[in-house]
């Protein structure tokens, strides 16, 4: 990870105290971000989290209620979209149906009154990079979904800008194409080195593409950090539950000295990455950080269902009536009703305060 710490002066995109309301409904609450040159930022969240809204504000497609946006150190809060030096790729591709691929790519450049040969040069380059040379003279209607999305990316590419905005660009594609294009976008980023802001609800896209992820909920940034940090040290229960599949398991209990007390079990907290205090707490353990063996000692749970995935399997358990999932590279079949004894990797677990929901 090259860009873990960024100085403000070097920022490519800076969002300061962004607020947005529609009438009485506040959609964004004091959103601030500093994004360095060449970073790949993913805005992640469920529907209604405000991720696309932020992107539209950056693009200038929505007027902010308060706050400022700087691109390359320039205050663009009230600039027109075209003047902000951005390229944007949309979920529905948004290609102009009555223009050819070439026309689509050239449209913005013609608007900017670029010389003809420059336009041709840029289109050639983009077409080469995206391998769309063969259908430059077709209309969008004659292209497949994947091809259309390449053209849409190309339209951002030819603008020759520092900041690319992606609004769920892969959501309309099928799983296989999505995986392919994901890799291509990653390669593109490495090749061009532009700053990219990428909106998605898909955590795999987020984890694989992002240099940093901003996880949003109800228009508030929950955590803005590297994928690794978000995965390892989620700042709160929401983030912990959102990232990871299956979701993190949560056990309600209390901390007593060096131990987490859960039902009648005592789980030693040695090696925990943080500073737990005595009192009520929730222990969060990821399915992949839980070990097991058949047996009835310690924390035990009954097998309810096993999902086989070839290389690995997910076992759904009932732990004192509560649901618990664990993931194991071992795909051996374990019969329903088997009692398992569980062990938790405390060094990779998280403890949360039940009131504030924050990580301890």
């Amino acid at each position: 990870m090259m860009h873990q710490s960024v100085s403000v002066t070097d920022s490519s995109l800076s969002i300061r105290g962004l607020q947005l309301s529609f009438g009485a409904v506040q959609v964004l609450h004091d959103v601030s971000m500093e994004i360095g040159r060449g970073e790949f930022i993913v805005l992640l969240g469920g529907s209604g989290s405000g991720k696309s809204t932020i992107l539209n504000c950056i693009a200038g497609l929505l007027d902010v209620s308060d706050g400022q946006i700087f691109i390359n150190g320039r205050n663009v809060t009230w600039e027109e979209p075209k003047d902000r030096g951005i390229g944007m790729v949309f979920q529905s591709y948004a290609l102009y149906p009555q223009m050819t691929v070439r026309g689509n790519l050239a449209f913005g450049l013609k608007n900017a009154k670029l010389p003809k040969d420059e336009i041709a040069r840029r289109i050639d380059r983009a077409a080469r990079i995206l391998q769309i040379e063969d259908y430059l003279d077709r209309k969008p209607g004659a292209l497949s979904g994947g091809q259309r999305q390449r053209v849409a990316i190309g339209r951002a590419l030819v603008r020759d800008v520092d900041l690319f905005l992606f609004d769920e660009p892969l959501s309309n594609l099928d799983a296989k194409l999505r995986a392919e294009l994901r890799v291509e976008i990653k390669r593109l980023h490495e090749k061009l080195g532009n700053t990219m802001v990428y909106v998605t609800h898909d955590q795999i896209e987020a984890m694989t593409l992002a240099s940093r992820i901003a996880l949003l909920r109800h228009g508030v940034i929950q955590q803005f950090d590297t994928p690794d940090e978000i995965y390892r040290r989620p700042v709160n229960l929401y983030v912990a539950g959102f990232i990871g599949s299956p979701s993190m398991n949560f056990l309600k209990g209390r901390i007593e000295g060096e131990d987490f007390v859960f039902n009648s079990h005592r789980i030693p907290l040695a090696g925990y990455d943080g500073r737990p205090r005595d009192g009520e707490a929730i222990l969060g353990v990821r399915p992949e950080h839980t070990g097991f063996r058949t047996g009835t000692d310690g924390v035990t749970a009954k097998v309810e269902l096993q999902e086989h995935m070839g290389a690995e399997s997910v076992i759904h358990l009932s732990l004192d009536g509560q649901r618990f999932a664990l993931r194991t590279p071992d795909d051996t079949h374990i019969p329903e009703g088997t009692t398992l004894s569980l062990t938790f990797d405390i060094s990779r677990a998280s403890l949360f305060d039940p009131q504030s929901e924050l990580r301890l």
Binding site: V25, T77, W78, E79
Partner: protein, 300 residues
């Protein structure tokens, strides 16, 4: 375009300036014509303007006379009757026809064109032709009597009690096709999977139409309702061409009352009072609805 001031935030007025400039014709029409003219009309309804509009106030005298006028009361009754019949029949028949045309039938285009062509004709033409067909001396009645059924009587245009139904027949002939097309278009917009689902569930077609499709067509019904109702309230030419308000004054309608008062009676004030009442009624019905339908909705 945006004027970025030192503080960063441009004046509200200049945001989307071009959009606002482009909307000027609409804003002018709304303010000057629809609001302004209405205000002008309401103002003059309190005057005793006769041939020319004059600000010669007489209080509510015009309204007192209006509500004491048999002609006006009959007009309103007729409009209510006409409106209910038109709405019920044009929607029911239009919807049934749309459903029939939606059955993957052959010659759909032909049938559609036949049902829709009267819409291209003016109300005057419609009125004249139906006046003819319904004329007891050489229209339907005389034909059927000529075929041997001597006692057959069908003379709506000559019978004050049922004359409005004669007008409804003509209006339906002209307008149902349009309703049908609107609803047909709506039906075509419904996702095929709804049909699949209802067939898997074993729901009979008529029930699917009634319980599933009709609620899904709400937006089309709304648009159609606006267009049809606007036509009903304004009905004038048809009545003039078909019955002239007769026999006697039994097929008078409010728009005709307004027109006659203004231009035949040369009593503008009275005409304005009547149109103010029409305006008021429309506003009472429309404003809450328009607010729900068009107001207060935001992009999210």
């Amino acid at each position: 375009m945006a004027k970025t001031s030192a503080s960063g935030r441009p004046s509200r007025l200049f945001r989307n300036l071009n959009a606002k400039i482009a909307a000027i014709p609409m804003i002018l029409t709304a303010c000057v014509v629809f609001v302004g003219f209405s205000a002008w009309t309401i103002l003059h309804s309190f005057t005793k303007s006769r041939l020319l509009p004059k600000l010669d106030f007489v209080g509510t005298a015009q309204y007192e006379r209006l509500w004491a006028s048999d002609k006006w009361l009959i007009s309103i009754q007729n409009l209510v009757l006409f409106g209910i019949c038109m709405l019920v029949f044009s929607f029911v028949i239009g919807f049934l026809l749309a459903c029939l045309l939606d059955q993957k039938i052959r010659f759909e285009g032909m049938f559609r064109t036949i049902l829709l062509y009267p819409f291209a004709l003016s109300f005057v033409v419609t009125g004249v032709i139906w006046q003819w067909i319904l004329n007891p001396d050489f229209g339907v009645q005389s034909i059927i009597r000529g075929m041997g059924w001597e006692s057959f009587t069908f003379d709506p245009l000559n019978n004050g009690r049922i004359v409005m139904f004669g007008v409804v027949i003509a209006a339906l002939w002209q307008g149902t096709g349009f309703v049908m097309v609107l609803l047909l278009a709506g039906l075509r917009g419904i996702d095929d999977e709804i049909w699949k689902a209802s067939r898997v569930d074993g729901i009979p077609a008529w029930k699917t139409y009634l319980l599933v499709i009709v609620p899904m067509l709400r937006p089309v019904f709304v648009t159609t309702l606006v267009i049809v109702t606007a036509g009903i309230v304004k009905v004038y030419d048809l009545v003039v061409a078909q019955t002239g308000g007769g026999p006697g004054i039994s097929s008078e309608v409010p728009a005709k009352y307004v027109y006659d008062q203004m231009f035949l009676n040369q009593n503008l004030g009275q005409g304005f009072a009547a149109s103010t009442m029409m305006l008021l009624t429309v506003a009472i019905i429309i404003i809450p609805w328009a607010y729900l339908e068009f107001g207060g909705r935001k992009r999210g």
